[in-house]
């Protein structure tokens, strides 16, 4: 083991900022990061073991005990639940003979849950040793587990390949693109290299002003003007970096998955144009671990672009040196937050930084850095190709261009749609063929739960802003239990824990929702939850804590009658449950609890 680990450390680059890569390789090799490895890594990198563990224990896909030879990670996001996850989980447990959270005694199979893996359009889905299995049913689970027992490779259990590059020899995945509507920007025609050549013959300042003219705003959710971000960064001095945010962790979004599969060159081209514009020499793609199945493919595209001189030294003979590398994540939603992403790329726990300074002033390696979403880079390519005005003529006043929507849940046509900003929710529901809709969750758990009375609202940054996640919730769903509780469990797990407010309030609010679901809630709980959520919003450092009360606050405001039907109309009720409290002692002495009401 010692030899192997030493060679991993050597090939990953013997430096603390490569710790993520080291841990990823060790986990892959030994199916865990054992104590011995921690100790070897710590002494090689000159940091304490506690520091290595600090990074290791932050990420979902690093484990201390070996996961199974077949490590199953079943998605337990809300949409997976809506599409029948419980049945699938039950079948996995039956077939494997263990519960979730356990490994079979022979070490063959381990069962775990994981947060949204970016497959909401084909749930229930699971990762097995980073191979994706979609649209699972009891039948399919039986086959899969039988295959495991026969010793088949995971790859050989993939029944058929999906469309487009999902069938590429380096991908061979059953994932489907589900592109339902292609628009003129990201999913329209694309001629690789054409725009890069144009950009490199422009003055970098003019590239930035073209992007500014387009009014393009970030597609990752926050909607910051892209041109302005590039301008700020270009005005800083010294080394600079371009980072592409391919963490796509917001439950219910999967449009970046499709762009990574079908528009990889366009993304890299956009990053290169951005590098030219701001004066950077290096670009980094932060790829969520859940998309590891695309890693080899993406690296092969980078190689191809190097061969064609679209990357590397003296690109297209224009004297510009620039290259791109891919940094893998290891399972942490908060690493989609730009400064947490930088920390993670530097080999640390993904804890968002305090601002100021902003990444454009001090980002990766404390150097000025722009971070943009996958879709933002694709849009920038079209803008430089066709002009800012062409782009700004689409969409609404404040939201120009098109947006990719990832639409999932209770509708007949889930998938990716490229639409102009400004579409109403009602129009969207017609487009995806959804009827009997109770609510639409716009922008994922951190967004807004919109009731039918507001379906004429527009999808636009100035009204219903979204990074793309749109979850349709049918009337048959228990909104509080299936959606709100699931979302709060998600935030409770995914908070980095650094802010006392975010760490505690997410836990408290989750418990309060649980209390209401279990019928123990009282009326004052509702206002309390809203007020406590407000404190969390106002005092937390990053977007996670600032929005994670939204599932509670937006549903209490938009579906109050639903909550009121579930809570008791009293002012006080003791949380102390006598029966529950004495059950254990009664069991110990072997008599039933006697409680005098």
């Amino acid at each position: 083991m010692e030899e192997k680990i030493k060679s991993i450390i050597k090939t990953s680059g013997n430096s603390p900022d490569r710790l993520m890569d080291i841990l990823l390789s060790v986990q892959k090799e030994f199916r865990c990061v054992p104590e011995e490895a921690v100790s070897l890594i710590a002494s090689a990198l000159g940091i304490s073991e506690a520091d290595v563990n600090q990074t290791k224990t932050f990420y979902h896909f690093f484990s201390s005990k070996p996961v199974g030879k077949y490590a199953v990670y079943l998605n337990n996001a809300a949409v997976s639940g809506m599409m029948g996850m419980a049945e699938v989980a039950d079948e996995f447990e039956k077939q494997a003979g263990i519960k979730f959270g356990e490994t079979t005694p022979d070490g063959l199979i381990s069962l775990d849950y994981t947060a949204c893996i970016g497959m909401s359009d084909q749930e229930p889905a699971a990762l097995i040793n980073s191979v994706v299995f979609t649209e699972l049913t009891r039948e399919k689970v039986k086959e899969i587990v039988a295959g495991m027992k026969e010793g088949k490779t995971v790859e050989s259990m993939v029944p058929e390949y999906g469309d487009g590059n999902n069938a590429h020899p380096l991908v061979k995945s059953m994932v489907k693109n589900n592109i339902r509507k292609a628009g003129p920007v990201c999913l329209g025609d694309y001629d690789a290299g054409k725009t890069l050549s144009k950009a490199l013959s422009m003055n970098p300042k003019d590239v930035i002003s073209e992007v500014q003219k387009s009014n393009l705003r970030g597609r990752g959710g926050a909607g910051f003007p892209t041109g302005l971000k590039w301008l700020f960064c270009s005005q800083e001095s010294g080394e600079r970096y371009v980072i592409c945010n391919a963490d796509e962790g917001e439950p219910g979004t999967f449009k970046d998955r499709v762009l990574l599969t079908e528009r990889a060159k366009m993304i890299f081209e956009g990053m290169t144009i951005a590098g030219w514009a701001i004066g950077a020499k290096e670009g980094i793609v932060y790829l969520r671990y859940e998309y590891d199945y695309l890693l080899k493919f993406l690296n092969s595209i980078l190689d191809e672009m190097r061969e064609k001189n679209m990357l590397g030294k003296n690109i297209m003979g224009k004297g510009f040196d620039y290259d791109i590398r891919i940094q893998s994540g290891a399972g942490a939603y908060v690493c989609g937050e730009e400064s947490a992403l930088i920390e993670s790329t530097e080999g640390k726990r993904g804890e968002p930084r305090n601002r100021p300074p902003f990444p454009t002033q001090s980002g990766y390696n404390e150097k000025p850095t722009i971070i943009n979403n996958v879709e933002t880079f694709c849009s920038a390519v079209k803008i430089v190709e066709k002009g800012g005005e062409w782009f700004s003529n689409m969409g609404t006043e404040e939201s120009s261009g098109t947006k990719l929507l990832s639409i999932s849940g209770d509708c007949k046509q889930p998938g990716v749609y490229e639409v102009e900003w400004g579409m109403t929710i009602k129009e969207m529901l017609d487009m995806v063929d959804a009827t009997d809709v109770q609510a639409v969750q716009v922008a994922g758990p951190s967004g807004v739960c919109v009731p039918p009375s507001q379906f004429s609202r527009k999808i636009a940054i100035e009204d219903l802003a979204t990074g793309g996640s749109m979850i349709v919730v049918g009337k048959q769903r228990d909104l509080i239990k299936d959606i709100v509780l699931n979302f709060m469990e998600f935030f409770e797990d995914e908070s980095c824990g650094s802010c006392i407010t975010c760490r505690s309030f997410n836990m408290i609010l989750r418990r309060m929702v649980e209390k209401i679901v279990e019928g123990r809630g009282i009326k004052p709980d509702l206002d309390n939850m809203v007020q406590w959520g407000e404190i969390m919003r106002n005092t937390s450092r990053c977007g996670l804590g600032q929005t994670s009360a939204n599932p509670v606050s937006t549903t209490i405001s938009n579906f109050r009658e639903l909550y009121e039907s579930k809570v008791k109309d009293v002012d006080f009720q003791s949380d102390f449950d006598m029966k529950k409290a004495i059950i254990e002692s009664c069991e110990a002495v072997g008599r039933p609890p006697v409680v005098h009401e």
């Binding site: 000159g46 940091i47 304490s48 073991e49 506690a50 520091d51 563990n53 600090q54 224990t57 932050f58 942490a332 908060v334 726990r349 305090n354 601002r355 100021p356 409770e492 797990d493 995914e494 908070s495 980095c496 824990g497 650094s498 802010c499 006392i500 407010t501 760490r503 505690s504 309030f505 997410n506 836990m507 408290i508 418990r511 309060m512 309390n528 406590w532 404190i535 106002n538 005092t539 937390s540 450092r541 949380d575």
Partner: protein, 234 residues
């Protein structure tokens, strides 16, 4: 003197140096902004959020904000902010397990002192009753995780001669815990162990073999509420 910044806190006129952290500038002007994680001249953690103030109507943490021309009017002791701070103190009391009468730091504890300052009676939040461990492996230190408030002071400040950290976080979110490097902590010096205990705002880091050196009545906050030294300085 373009480096001098003028601003107000709750209407009081203050001056400070450009780039100085608001919390330090305020202290120099005799204004106390409560802190739990801040330690002067150490890179801010911004984790306890108790120093939240409003600058130009936006919430910011005073321990992470370098002052500049845009500081303008700062709100500090408004009823709204006082309530937020009280809520944060209450939250820390329900999140961890704090049995003050049995704690060696009682009277020297910043969290307890803030509880008194904000007149906390009963926390408005339900207790979490999380089970947390006590790590007594080091010959010099008890790490009483029940009392940790995750301020990161020990992580940021207690290092060996090679710059390696004795303390680090483990896990994330609700599973977050403070941990101590077993190998390094086995050889920690008396001075460093004492320093770790002194900088910990609560009773989570305690030095072994000595205890209760300061009698009741002579502890930091026995006679004056927390922040009095700053408020009396001007």
């Amino acid at each position: 003197m373009s480096d001098t910044i003028k601003f107000t806190i709750d209407g009081k006129e203050c001056t400070g140096k450009k780039g100085q952290l608001l919390v330090d500038a305020a202290a120099e002007n005799g204004v106390y902004i409560p802190v739990l994680c801040h330690w002067k001249d150490v890179k801010p953690a911004g984790s306890c959020r108790i120093c939240t103030v409003k600058v130009n109507n936006r919430y910011v943490t005073a321990c992470t904000l370098p002052i500049d021309e845009n500081c303008g009017d700062v709100e500090n002791n408004t009823p709204e902010l006082q309530d937020i701070r009280k809520a944060i103190v209450e939250m820390l009391f329900v999140e961890g397990n704090h049995f003050c009468p049995a704690c060696e730091k009682s009277g020297d504890c910043d969290l307890q002192a803030l509880g008194y300052k904000y007149q906390m009676m009963v926390p408005r939040f339900p207790y979490a009753f999380e089970r947390r461990e006590l790590d007594a492996k080091s010959p010099k230190i008890f790490l009483e995780k029940n009392r940790c408030i995750f301020c990161k002071r020990c992580i940021r400040m207690i290092k060996d001669e090679k710059g390696r950290s004795y303390f680090a976080f483990k896990g994330r979110g609700k599973h977050l815990e403070i941990s101590m490097d077993e190998k390094l902590a086995a050889n920690i010096s008396d001075e460093l162990a004492q320093e770790a205990m002194d900088i910990c705002p609560v009773g989570a880091i305690l030095k072994k073999e000595v205890g209760f050196i300061n009698p009741i009545g002579k502890r930091k906050y026995d006679n004056e509420p927390i922040g009095s030294d700053i408020e009396k300085s001007k």
